[in-house]
C-alpha cells in the first residue's frame, strides 16, 4: 500500500507563458524605468535613460516607495497601462 502525504506548499500552478519577441527597434517604444529606491539606482537609470532616448524611445520614470516592499498595485497598474517595455533596476 502506498503512503499518502499532504502537500505543504502553496500549490501554485505556474502557467507556461512564452516570452514576447524582442522588439526589432526601440523607435516609438514607451519604456518604463522602475527605480526600486536602492542607493545609486538613479545614477544607473539616468545613464540608461540617456541611451534609450538617443535610440528613439520615450522614457517614463517610476519609483517604488521603498526597496523592502513589492511595488504597490497602483504603481504596477500605471506602468502596465502606459508602457510597452519595462526595465527594473536593482542596485547594491
Amino acid at each position: 500500500m502506498s503512503k499518502l502525504l499532504l502537500d505543504p506548499t502553496g500549490e501554485r500552478h505556474v502557467a507556461e507563458r512564452t516570452r514576447l519577441d524582442r522588439p526589432a527597434s526601440l523607435d516609438g517604444q514607451v519604456i518604463g524605468l522602475l527605480d526600486i529606491s536602492k542607493p545609486r539606482g538613479d545614477v544607473f537609470l539616468d545613464q540608461l535613460e540617456r541611451r534609450l532616448v538617443e535610440a528613439g524611445a520615450t522614457v517614463k520614470r517610476y519609483k517604488k516607495p521603498t526597496f523592502t516592499k513589492p511595488a504597490p498595485v497602483d504603481l504596477r497598474q500605471e506602468i502596465a497601462t502606459s508602457c510597452t517595455l519595462v526595465i527594473e533596476a536593482l542596485a547594491d
Binding site: 503512503k3 499518502l4 502525504l5 499532504l6 505543504p8 502553496g10 501554485r12 521603498t66 523592502t68
Partner: protein, 479 residues
C-alpha cells in the same frame, strides 16, 4: 483522497443501543434488550447480544458519527433526530427514557460503562482520517512503499534542513483538533509568492515542524502577524541582513502549553518554543515560497531563522508584560513578532544598583549593529531575573527603565558623523552639531525571561525599522 467521505448514517426511529461484548456493563444489560423494542449496534462481537439480532458497526461509522464515547449508550430517536441519550447503566434513566416500568429492577442502581471503540486512542486517528478526511483539500503526494518518507520530504524541498514529521491525513486532522477555525479559512496572504494560506496549510506545516495540536492557535496568530504590511515578512525574508521573525509569547496560555520562559528560554530543549517558531518559518518557506538563495538573500542568516520563539517570564517580573505594554488586555494570550537577529549576552555581575546596571545596558545597546548608527534599528532587551531583581528592589518599572536607558543613549553628532573615530560608517556631516537618540521612541522592547541564576541579560537586534522596514506586531491568540 485515500477514502471517500462516508455519509453520516441515520439512526432508526425508536430506541437505539450501542454495546460491545468486551464491556461488563454491556453484558449486564444485554438481557434487558429483548424486553423492549430497540435497534442494537455492536462494536466488537457481531453476534452480541445473542438475545436480539444486533447490527455490527464493523467500521464504527455509526459510533463515530453519533459521537458515542461510552458503551452502553441508549438513545431515543424520533423522525431521524436524537431526542435524548444516557450513557452507562442508570436504572432510573433507562426506565424513564424507555418508559418500561421495572426494567432492570434486579440490577444495581448504577454502573459506569466502558470506553467506546470509536474513541480508542489506537483507532481514533485512523477513524478521523476515514470519516473526516474529506475536509482536507490539500493535494495528495503519493509515496511508493519503498520510498523513505523522510528522504522524500527532503528531496521535494519541503524542509528547513532538518527532518520533518511526515504530514499524513491522520496527523493533520489531529492537528486541526487544536483550533475551532475551519480548515478552509484563509488566514493570510504569504509573501513572497503572495499565496493565500488556509488553516489546513498551516496545520500541515505545523505537523511537519513537530507541533502538538494545542500549539496551533499560536502558529496561526504568528502567521497572521508576520503577513501584515507593518511586519513586512517579504522584506524580512529578502534582506541581506541576518534577521527572521522572533516571536515573544505572553499570557497564561504559554504556561498551559508548556512553553519555556525560564532557564535556556532562548535555547534548545522545549518542544513548544522550538516547534511554534519552526512552523511559522516552514509556512513562509513552503506556502510563501521563501527559500534561502532565492528570495531569501541573507548574507549570513542566523540560527534563529530555523526557529526563534519564547515566552515571557511574567511571574515575579517587575515589568508590565510586553504584550500588555503594546496594548493587549492584561492576562490575554498574545504574541509579538519582531524582525530580529540572534541574541547577544549582556554581562554585568557586579552591579547592585539600578543606575550602574542601566549604564551597562546603555553601553551595550549603543553598539547595536554599529556604535555609530542611530535610529534605524529597534531592539528587544531580554532582562534576566537576577538583573530584573536589581531594578525591582529599587522600584524601577518598565517605564522607568526605558526612560533611564533613552536618557543615556542621547549621542553627540560629533561622535557619529562619517569619519569620526576613523570609521567611515556614520551619519551625514550636516548632523555634526545634532544630538541624536540611539533608538526611536518605542524602539526598545523590554522582556523578562531567563533562568534564576546568572547576572546576565540579552539583546536581540532588529532590522530596518518603521515604515521603510518592519514594525513589531502584536496579535491576540484565538482558539
Amino acid at each position: 483522497m485515500s477514502t471517500s467521505p462516508a455519509a453520516r448514517p441515520v439512526l432508526p426511529d425508536g430506541f437505539v443501543v450501542i454495546v460491545k461484548e468486551e464491556c461488563e456493563t454491556c453484558r449486564m444489560v444485554a438481557p434487558l434488550l429483548a424486553q423492549f423494542e430497540c435497534t442494537v449496534y455492536t462494536q466488537d462481537d457481531p453476534t452480541f447480544p445473542h438475545s436480539v439480532s444486533p447490527t455490527h458497526d464493523a467500521d464504527l461509522s455509526v459510533s463515530w458519527h453519533h459521537d458515542i464515547e461510552t458503551v452502553p449508550t441508549l438513545i431515543k430517536v424520533m423522525n431521524g433526530v436524537e431526542l435524548e441519550r444516557t450513557v452507562g447503566w442508570s436504572r432510573a434513566e433507562w426506565q424513564r427514557i424507555t418508559g418500561v416500568h421495572g426494567l432492570g429492577d434486579d440490577l444495581p442502581v448504577m454502573r459506569p460503562g466502558c470506553g467506546s471503540m470509536s474513541v480508542d486512542p489506537d483507532l481514533v486517528d485512523a477513524l478521523r482520517a476515514r470519516f473526516g478526511g474529506h475536509v482536507l483539500k490539500a493535494r495528495r503526494i503519493e509515496l511508493a512503499d519503498l520510498d523513505d518518507e523522510m528522504e522524500a520530504l527532503f528531496d521535494r524541498g519541503f524542509t528547513d534542513g532538518l527532518p520533518v514529521v511526515p504530514p499524513t491525513e491522520e496527523r493533520v486532522l489531529r492537528m486541526l483538533e487544536g483550533t475551532t477555525r475551519a480548515p478552509d479559512e484563509v488566514v493570510a496572504v504569504v509573501p513572497p509568492d503572495l499565496v493565500e494560506v488556509t488553516v489546513e496549510k498551516i496545520a500541515i506545516n505545523a505537523v511537519m515542524a513537530g507541533c502538538r495540536p494545542e500549539y496551533l492557535p499560536w502558529v496561526i496568530a504568528a502567521v497572521e502577524a508576520i503577513c501584515t504590511d507593518e511586519f513586512n515578512i517579504h522584506g524580512v525574508l529578502a534582506t541581506t541582513m541576518p534577521v527572521g521573525p522572533v516571536i515573544v509569547c505572553n499570557g497564561p496560555g504559554t504556561r498551559a502549553i508548556g512553553m519555556n520562559a525560564a532557564g535556556n528560554a532562548l535555547g534548545q530543549g522545549n518542544r513548544a518554543n522550538l516547534t511554534i517558531g519552526r512552523a511559522v518559518q516552514l509556512v513562509v518557506r513552503n506556502v510563501g515560497g521563501g527559500r534561502p538563495g532565492e528570495v531569501d538573500r541573507a548574507t549570513h542568516g542566523n540560527p534563529g531563522k530555523i526557529s526563534f520563539c519564547f515566552a515571557e517570564l511574567e511571574d515575579g517580573s517587575p515589568f508590565t508584560p510586553l504584550a500588555t505594554s503594546l496594548g493587549m488586555p492584561t492576562d490575554a494570550n498574545a504574541l509579538t513578532v519582531f524582525a530580529g537577529e540572534g541574541p547577544r549576552c549582556i554581562v554585568d555581575q557586579l552591579a547592585r544598583d539600578p543606575d550602574s546596571l542601566a549604564n551597562t545596558f546603555a553601553a551595550c545597546l549603543r553598539t547595536l549593529h554599529n556604535p555609530k548608527l542611530v535610529l534605524g534599528f529597534d531592539v528587544i532587551l531580554v532582562v534576566g531575573p537576577e538583573h530584573a531583581r536589581v531594578f525591582a528592589e529599587a522600584g524601577w518599572d518598565r517605564d522607568r527603565l526605558l526612560a533611564e536607558l533613552h536618557a543615556r543613549l542621547q549621542l553627540s553628532g560629533e561622535e557619529l558623523v562619517r569619519g569620526a573615530h576613523g570609521i567611515a560608517e556614520g551619519i551625514p556631516e550636516h548632523l555634526r552639531s545634532a544630538t541624536l537618540p540611539k533608538f526611536r521612541p518605542g524602539g526598545i522592547l523590554v522582556v523578562h525571561a531567563g533562568g534564576g541564576a546568572g547576572l546576565f541579560s540579552a539583546m536581540i537586534g532588529g532590522w530596518a525599522n518603521g515604515d521603510i522596514g518592519s514594525k513589531p506586531v502584536t496579535r491576540l491568540v484565538g482558539n
